[in-house]
Amino acid sequence: MGIQLNEIPDWNCCGASIGYGGGGELPRLALSARNIALSEEHNPGQQIVATCAACWLATREAKERLHDDQQMFKDANAALAEAGLMYKGQAEVRHMVEVLVDDIGFDALKAKVKKPLEGLKIAGYVGCQTNRPFGIAGESFENPMYLDNIVESVGAESIRTYEKKVQCCGGALAFSEPEKSQEMIHGIIEAAYDNGADLITTPCPLCQANVEIYQDQINEKFGTKFNMPVVYYSQLLDVAFGRSAADAALNGQIIKAKKLEDIANK
């Protein structure tokens, strides 16, 4: 698609939205500042593009905080100096969805399709952090449409009124509060079934995992028979653009996305 991604050399984990309880404020901000500083040093003039909702959020949030609070900016740089780094805060921080939607555009995505995902009905589950607090420009927080538009661009049927589109899945609390989180995940999957979905797709890696991998446990608890595939949205693009099931990492699914695999194998 004419876009080249360069890894940030020696990147570190951003602390996600759970590290705060161990790290506090400045240490957490310093982690994201380190990634930005490394990018500014090694990939000067380039945008930072995150594929994970939480990485994007943490990095962008750190940049805003260090911009608004001069003392924090100085403190973060005092910490970074210990690692021989300097944070300027110039690199733009974006989500991959912004690149796909704003830079490339739905029409260009459509033009790339070799195998339209015909006959697939897909619930686009946007979740929280790709959507709030920053979101994608021009989209509403309560009912964003870009994921439905991506689904339709690759030839599948979207469920524009999917009621659990922006429902929280528990995020990191799926680990620490499994019962409470699984109750919410149950609702997300149930609504997809109610709408006749063949599969769920999401732009958030943690949502993808949370909604897919606990279905056994949810079935045990709720007496349901859920077996709903949940794929990362790029897997839809992969298949539609003609890549193999293996290239689309469909063999990594715990719940096989059978219909999507069939299209890939056609």
Partner: protein, 207 residues
């Protein structure tokens, strides 16, 4: 009672609001709350919270220091940002909840065995060792956080899940013996140590 807690009680005798403003992440926003209740209706785990954000802000102004700082409500924040997206006054509620949780922990007032507080610390410690998080060790230490017996039970409950994840090559058992990390671990650790020192000094000397 922790020494820092005693110092803080002494220092802010007259105003818990001032204590929060000076020491809690984004605490200076608390006074902007107009008690509309939108945030209270927005928390996904809200029915489990004893005190929703709106109430916590009111309690801070009313000086209910103990009730706020010993509460486990803010530890149930999932960072969903519903509240921030909806608050008519633009309060960074998510960060204030995180900030209150961290501050209560710093003072030794956070509830014992609070699962998210424990998980959060395990996650952070794991991250500090190598700069990246090792899912397998993270999972294992989470199961064993309550001791060995409970750990075996927890691990059994999730055994099928672990096996599924490994079968699907989503969790790498080799991670346990090394796994990925940043190259400049010592730089990263020095950076974090410095950041912690600065933050400690702020909380002790600010106000």
């Amino acid at each position: 009672m922790s020494d820092l807690n005693k110092v803080m009680i002494e220092k802010y005798r007259t105003s818990f609001l001032r204590e929060v403003e000076a020491n809690v992440e984004e605490g200076e926003w608390v006074k902007m709350c107009m008690q509309c209740g939108v945030c209270a209706g927005s928390c996904p785990l809200g029915k489990h919270w004893d005190h929703p954000p709106q109430e916590i802000f009111m309690m801070i102004r009313a000086g209910k220091r103990d009730e706020v700082l010993t509460s486990d409500s803010m530890w149930m924040c999932t960072s969903c940002y519903n509240c921030i997206a909806r608050c008519p006054r633009g309060l960074p509620i998510t960060h204030i909840m995180h900030g209150l949780a961290v501050y209560s922990k710093r003072l030794g007032l956070a509830p014992q065995k609070q699962p998210t507080a424990e998980f959060s610390q395990i996650f952070w410690d794991n991250l500090m060792k190598k700069g990246r998080v090792n899912e397998l060790k993270l999972g294992l230490s989470l199961y064993f956080k309550d001791g060995f017996g409970q750990g075996v039970k927890n691990a059994m409950a999730n055994q099928k899940l672990g096996q599924n994840m490994m079968k699907a090559k989503r969790m790498n058992p080799m991670e346990f013996f090394g796994g990925h990390g940043v190259k400049d671990t010592s730089g990263l650790q020095k950076m974090i140590k410095k950041a912690q020192e600065i933050e400690d000094a702020k909380v002790q000397g600010k106000g």
